[in-house]
């Protein structure tokens, strides 16, 4: 169950009184103000809102890439806002899969090697890593492209590799920042189909930032961020239907 009033039971993700303020010269910019959020396991949440509304900042805070000015973020019982930088890095490796708008693949590595990156931080053997990577690539439908470099793939295929990289270590939840923002309509549809399938078939929890209403439609819950405050939108997404 997703709630934004601070009275939810937390489930998987529990955000309380989250503030984020940036300083530009003498000016203070309040990006997020007293934000509350509860997300349960296996939910697919889309965040929408105008540019500069703090969507990506919220995603970064949920993923432990940024620290809040005040407030707390607790994931599966771990309060990540109280963690040191080093602990947070290790936590990220174990619990979060990131998907970016521009895919952010390493251009000099093959699809296989890109997907393998998070596993290099684990104690898995080479053979075990190979099995995991093959499975992840199969899930995204690119088993036959493992030896291709990013430049040899289409935008949609690159994003699929990025999704494979995000899920290969079996993280607790996925964070997707405009995953279809750089794709044509057909590829965007396929990516959203894939994300929805990760939720429905594999029970993954996905939190996604998007500008695209068609992409947001695939989520179970759409939340709007406006002037640093979350407001509940709709629960009309296809995944929720």
């Amino acid at each position: 169950m997703v709630t934004v009033d601070g009275r939810g039971d937390g489930g998987l993700i529990r955000v309380r009184d989250l503030d984020k303020t940036y300083r530009r010269g003498s000016e203070e910019i309040h990006v997020l103000q007293g934000l509350n959020l509860d997300v349960g396991r296996g939910e697919f949440v889309a965040f929408m809102g105008p540019s500069g509304s703090g969507k990506t900042t919220l995603l970064n805070l949920l993923g432990g890439l940024d620290v809040p000015t005040s407030g707390s973020v607790t994931v599966a019982g771990d309060e990540i806002t109280a963690m040191s930088s080093a602990r947070l890095t290790a936590w990220r490796a174990r619990h979060v899969g990131f998907i970016f708008q521009m895919y952010n693949l390493i251009p000099v590595l093959t699809a296989f090697a890109n997907v393998e990156l998070p596993l290099l931080l684990t104690r898995l053997t080479k053979a075990e890593r190979r099995r995991h990577v093959a499975a992840a690539l199969a899930v995204v439908g690119l088993a036959d492209r493992s030896r291709h470099y990013p430049r040899q793939l289409s935008g949609g295929q690159e994003q699929r590799v990025a999704i494979a990289r995000a899920i290969v270590a079996d993280p607790t939840f996925l964070l997707a920042d405009e995953p279809t923002g750089d794709l044509d309509r057909k590829s965007a549809g396929e990516i959203m189909e894939l994300l929805a399938r990760l939720v429905s078939e594999y029970g993954k929890t996905v939190l996604m930032v998007t500008h695209d209403p068609r992409a947001a439609e695939r989520a179970q819950v759409v939340l709007h961020l406006d002037k640093g405050v979350l407001v509940e939108g709709s629960a009309l997404g296809a995944a929720g239907r």
């Binding site: 890095t89 590595l109 990156l117």
Partner: protein
């Protein structure tokens, strides 16, 4: 090891740039190798001087002689195993440009003290029989294309006249780095013909029974001749060789200066290259940190990359320098030794790695401190 693929992929990302950076390391270490080799040649073998030998010279100056009579007194000093002596001749072969060192030595004791010289038995025996005989080093023989049996005329500059020698043998060194650019002839021939300076020698060389006693024996020798008309200065052969080499100028300073400038320039070039390489990959480094690569791992990846460039370039340059020196003295024998030791190669590689680490340090720290959220926003 599991990150090696990632490091290698980054190294080969811009092949031309990596090749040029490795090339600049190779050129610098090649130059380093040659400079060290030339320094070794000019240091008169100081690097390979015996640790169990002392040189006894006139305290006033190296060019002032010592009495021949000191020989028996030196042999009596406790801790002395053997004594020999030599005198600088300073002859000219055909033209003054054909300089090479010539020493009048004691035929009976010289090779007992200088065991690193290797002379075939029959040639040494011929030298022992022939008062006008001489032995020359392999490099010197090659320089003038001399063969055993040749007659070598020298024009004396200290002791006038033409001095003729029979080339009885050619010596080699039993290890690399032994000076084979010299000519040795018999002291009794010099003593017989010279018009002045009779009964004197240039310097003595003392072989120690125990190298640990060097200080004690040197003090005993100098103490024994104190307040005499010919006071002595006894020092290790290494110190003597270094002092002798300094007469030709401070080669060491020259080598250090050139080497220092080269390596500092390399530091700037490589540092700049690494900084550019890291700046170009800001987004990728941010992604690595996003997926869980720790700051120290990111630091290590950049440093290893820099060290691999330095190591490959350094090894290549030093290998080329070694091959070049194996080809022999390019001056045809002017340099007594032309040998790049494995110690020097190790030092060169160490320096290259040090420069690589220093050049990679700043970009590596920058990568380590990269703010992921900000870097991703910029990307």
């Amino acid at each position: 090891m599991r990150f090696l693929g990632l490091v290698w992929a980054n190294l080969t990302r811009k092949k031309l740039r990596t090749t040029l950076t490795i090339g600049s390391f190779a050129v610098a270490t090649f130059l380093f190798g040659l400079l060290v080799t030339i320094r070794g040649a000019f240091s008169g073998g100081a690097d390979v001087a015996g640790t169990d030998r002392l040189t006894v010279i006139n305290k006033t100056s190296l060019i002032m002689p010592l009495p021949y009579s000191y020989l028996s007194r030196l042999q009596q000093v406790p801790g002395v195993a053997a004594v020999t002596f030599a005198t600088w001749f300073g002859g000219v072969y055909q033209d003054e440009r054909n300089f090479f060192p010539q020493f009048a030595v004691d035929k009976d004791s010289w090779f007992r003290v200088y065991s690193e010289y290797v002379v075939p038995g029959d040639q040494l025996a011929a030298f022992m029989r022939d008062r006008q005989g001489c032995l020359v080093g392999r490099a010197l023989a090659r320089r003038f294309d001399w063969k055993v049996g040749d007659r070598i005329p020298l024009r004396g500059t200290i002791w006038p006249g033409t001095w003729e020698f029979n080339l009885d043998g050619i010596y080699d060194g039993h290890r690399p780095g032994v000076d084979t650019s010299q000519m040795l002839f018999r002291y009794d021939y010099l003593e017989e013909r010279r018009a002045f300076g009779k009964g004197t020698v240039g310097w003595y060389v003392v072989k120690l029974a125990n190298p640990d006693d060097a200080v004690k024996v040197a003090a005993a020798i100098d103490g024994g001749f104190a307040n005499s008309p010919y006071e002595t200065l006894t020092q290790t052969e290494k110190a003597f060789a270094a002092a002798f080499a300094k007469q030709m100028g401070n080669i060491e300073l020259l080598v250090l200066t050139i080497g220092g400038v080269v390596f500092f320039t390399l530091l700037l070039v490589t540092g700049n290259t690494m900084a550019i390489a890291v700046r170009e990959r800001t987004a990728e480094i941010a992604v690595l940190k996003t997926v869980g690569f720790a700051d120290t791992v990111v630091l290590g990846l950049v440093l290893v990359e820099s060290l691999l460039i330095a190591g490959q370039g350094g090894a290549l340059g030093l290998l080329l320098a070694k091959l070049f020196t194996l080809g022999g003295d390019p001056t045809g024998g002017v340099l007594g030794t032309f040998y790049l030791s494995w110690n020097a190669i190790g030092l060169g590689l160490g320096l290259a790695l040090l420069v690589g680490a220093a050049a990679g340090a700043l970009p590596a720290v920058a990568a380590m401190r990269l703010d992921v959220a900000r870097a991703l926003r910029r990307a």
